[in-house]
């Protein structure tokens, strides 16, 4: 296909040509960034969490008398174990994605400075917490019954024990390349020895890249333990949550008892994010439609304006295919120019967003991906007008307009 006549013709219709280029450039830039943002959110929403998410129900008991914790917790656990289908039960101080965060900072030696300490979220597990949550042990061991029984909290923010289990992420962050078992977490005057490493569990509050900085302590019945984790087969879960909620509110009328499946907790936590992702998808679709209709409109006008020239070309021997090709090539050239401009714009917008928002650098393949999408869109949009152009009969050349 000869390009020169197309360029010559575009030069004569500079403004419509520039408009199409501009439209495609803007669409390309917005599309790349929007798709990138959608991708980021999808990754965030699907972050792994090595507990039995499908089988866990969580019942919170708030406002119970703190002095009664040591007698009420065993009583409540026994009641929950009696519900048909329950496989494991335990109390914890919080669960992943509950927004109830027990944050603390630890160093790798007793004199670690404030700024070098690593922020983690602390989970206190009542006996059987590993089974109830479905933690996946990678190295070492879970806590033994003595460690659960001997661990007390009183009024301190952390527990009085000497053992801790960390997630793989914490182990890699604190002791990169070294075996973590037997290492010690320090926070003056406290020190805890790592006895086990588990697969990554999300924190109660995920706000950064350090989403899996979780550590686990054993704890004997204590008022801090107000989350009852009930594990069952996924198909029994919803029934058990309801029964458990009812049972616990009967046992403790002064407390506020609420039950949820863990999947609900997860969905609720990410609801904002997923609605934002859907909104971005909607914007992309509508924007592409608008761009496509714009191309259809302008090209149609072009075809109509050039009916006579098309007729002449047909009369001197051009086939329908030639005419089709002409408009397709023209659109390809305009799209390419638009895409080139759009890619630059896309990176510029990404840079701006990186400066002003919590945004990372866009991977290199997004703009080429957007480019292919817009090339296809352009070709699809031009198909109708190009076919109409090809249908212009040669005889038009002999008529005055």
């Amino acid at each position: 296909m000869e390009i020169r006549p197309i360029l010559a013709s575009l030069r004569k219709h500079r403004i419509p040509a520039i408009l199409i280029v501009l439209e495609i450039a803007l669409a390309c830039a917005v599309l790349c960034n929007a798709v990138f943002m959608i991708g980021q959110r999808v990754v965030d929403i699907h972050r792994s969490n090595a507990i039995d998410e499908q089988g866990i129900g969580v019942i919170t008991v708030d406002g119970a008398d703190p002095k009664m914790a040591s007698s009420e917790i065993p009583r409540n656990l026994a009641r929950l174990r009696g519900i048909a289908g329950v496989q494991a039960v335990a109390v914890t101080n919080t669960v992943p994605l509950s927004n109830n965060n027990w944050g603390w900072a630890f160093g790798t030696n007793p004199d670690t400075r404030f700024n070098d300490a690593v922020n983690v979220s602390a989970y206190f597990l009542g006996e059987g917490g590993d089974k109830a949550l479905g933690l996946q042990l990678l190295q070492g061991r879970f806590f033994n019954p003595d460690e659960y029984a001997d661990s007390k909290r009183g009024t301190m923010p952390l527990v009085d024990t000497h053992v801790v289990i960390v997630t793989q992420s914490v182990a890699e962050r604190m002791w990169p390349g070294q075996p973590p078992l037997g290492k010690v977490l320090y926070s003056k005057p406290l020190a805890y020895t790592v006895v086990g490493v588990v697969a990554d569990v999300l924190r109660p509050f995920v706000n950064s890249q350090r989403a899996w900085n979780s550590i686990f302590f054993p704890l004997s019945p204590d008022s801090a333990l107000s989350y009852y984790v009930v594990r069952s087969a996924p198909q029994d879960r919803d029934r058990i949550v309801l029964q458990a909620q009812q049972a616990l509110s009967e046992l403790d009328p002064i407390a506020v008892v609420k039950g949820h499946s863990f999947t609900d907790i997860r969905d609720k936590y990410f609801a904002d994010m997923s609605s934002m992702a859907w909104m971005l998808v909607l914007v992309c679709v509508v924007m592409l439609a608008v761009t496509a209709f714009g191309i259809v409109g302008l090209t149609s006008f072009w075809v109509q304006q050039r009916r006579r020239q098309i007729g002449i070309r047909r009369a001197v021997g051009a086939t329908r295919g030639h005419i089709m090709q002409y408009f397709q090539t023209e659109n390809f050239l305009l799209s390419s120019a638009g895409i080139a401009l759009g890619m630059v714009l896309a990176f510029a917008i990404n840079l701006y967003l990186m400066h002003h928002y919590e945004m990372t650098r866009m991977p290199w393949f997004y703009p080429p991906g957007g480019a292919i999408a817009l090339w296809l869109l352009g070709q699809l949009a031009v198909l109708g007008p190009a076919r109409r152009a090809a249908a212009v009969p040669p005889v038009v050349a002999t008529r005055s307009v």
Partner: protein
């Protein structure tokens, strides 16, 4: 003359219905999207207390140790420790001042057989209500003496009063909060500043319903109500937050002039110097931000909302460029008509005006349809899970702004085609025909 243009424009628009519809829908989509997001943005970045925000200041000092401190770079902590908040409170250096923390308040049901429930509570000091212009329906707030004496009193919101007492005056009645009996001394009128500025940094949400109960700080603490957010710089007994090395209170001061604010800033600095001399503090930084500044520092408007607004305006730009193209196509197709009009004596200006009127009509129609899209968009937002969802309504300002945006967008879109049209020479077009 305008009538004539209007007539011509309508005729021309009617002649090419598909193209006209396409232009109007395109413009309307762009306008709908931007008005929707702009409405949300405006709601979220609004001034919670317009009559008073310039006089309210958030004070910060920093009791943390020198560990990790970089002079000039480390910003003071967002929250205050109890002794400092009390010292500032008792110094009375501002017209009004109050310390506060948020808490979960367990409220016992009044009728047997109902379950207790949790409500949002604020534990604060006497000046809270007058300083923040919280309006009372019945009764009033407590006094500074009540604060010191741990008076067993509480102020409740109108919605809690409706829920528990059916809206009748409940002043003098008793409710059980966290298993302690408290006497109601005041009921607020509906009061829910958006954003809930005083909750920033204290661990609460920023938008949505107001708080349900307000209690004297020391009364609440005596009933072992804990703050939503606390931060400790050393291992501590967190059941005794008053003496623990922990920060958990927000502190606001009312200062009615720049002079007073400057004086208060000096007072804060002197206070901190004094604490350093006493060996309690090691960081000299202080901050005193007025309410709008504090909201900006706290980034109260979610990033997502600002991103959405930016995206919507990018989208509007695409729609405008698209409309320019379509208008241009339409107007160049009518070269002959323009040629005839020019030959019959119409000036360039007249042609220009005619096409601008046409663009304006498209804009108005786009605005009208855009309003429908915006209402639809806001309806969708109201059904989203976000805490500000319920607030998303179109007000008169945004209603008018819709048409302004529509008109400006269509005028910008019409400028180029109208200019091109007015440049056409009458002769050549007639000859071609």
């Amino acid at each position: 003359m305008f009538d004539y243009y209007l007539n011509l424009a309508l005729r021309s628009l009617r002649r090419n219905r598909v193209l006209t519809a396409l232009m109007i829908i395109t413009l309307a989509l762009g306008i709908g999207a931007s008005i929707t997001t702009l409405t949300v943005l405006r709601l979220l970045s609004g001034d919670p207390l317009p009559q008073k925000s310039a006089q309210l200041f958030y004070a910060q000092v920093d009791p943390y140790t020198s560990d990790g401190y970089v002079p000039g770079k480390t910003k003071p902590q967002r929250l205050m420790a109890y002794p400092d908040a009390m010292n500032l409170l008792h110094a009375h250096q501002a017209r009004r001042q109050a310390a506060m923390a948020l808490t979960d308040a367990k409220i016992a049901p009044l009728r047997a057989g109902e379950h207790p429930f949790f409500s949002n509570g604020v534990m604060t000091t006497a000046d809270f209500f007058t300083m923040f212009d919280a309006p009372f329906r019945y009764g009033g707030g407590w006094t500074a003496d009540d604060d010191e004496n741990r008076a067993q009193v509480v102020v409740i919101s109108d919605f809690l009063n409706d829920k528990l007492f059916g809206g009748a005056s409940s002043v003098g009645r008793t409710i059980r909060v966290n298993d302690h009996d408290l006497r109601i001394i005041g009921v607020l009128k509906p009061w829910a500043p958006q954003p809930r500025f005083y909750a920033q940094g204290l661990g609460g949400r920023s938008y949505g319903d107001g708080d349900a109960v307000f209690l004297p700080l020391q009364t609440a603490r005596a009933a072992s109500m804990d703050p939503q957010n606390d931060d400790c710089w050393a291992v501590a007994d967190t059941s005794k937050l008053e003496t623990a090395p922990c920060i958990w209170l927000g502190f606001w001061a009312e200062l009615s002039s720049d002079g007073e604010a400057a004086a208060y800033r000096r007072f804060l600095s002197n206070y901190v110097q004094q604490q350093i001399a006493l060996g309690r503090f090691s960081r000299p930084e202080v901050a005193l931000s007025d309410l709008p500044q504090w909201l900006r520092d706290e980034k109260v408007v979610p990033d997502d909302v600002r991103l959405q607004a930016g995206l919507a305006f990018g989208f509007l730009l695409i729609c405008v460029v698209n409309t320019v193209g379509l208008l241009l196509a339409k107007c160049l197709r009518r070269s002959q008509e323009i040629g005839v009009r020019r030959a019959l004596g119409a000036t360039r200006r007249a042609i220009f005006a005619q096409f601008m009127v046409e663009a304006g009509i498209v804009g108005m129609a786009g605005g009208l349809l855009g309003l429908v899209f915006a209402e639809l968009g806001l309806w969708c937002i109201r059904h989203q899970p976000a805490e500000y969802a319920g607030l998303a309504h179109l007000d008169v300002h945004m209603f008018l702004l819709t048409f302004l945006v529509a008109l400006v967008a269509s005028m910008i879109a019409g400028l180029l085609p109208a200019w091109r049209a007015s440049l056409l020479a009458p002769g050549s077009q007639l000859k071609a025909a």
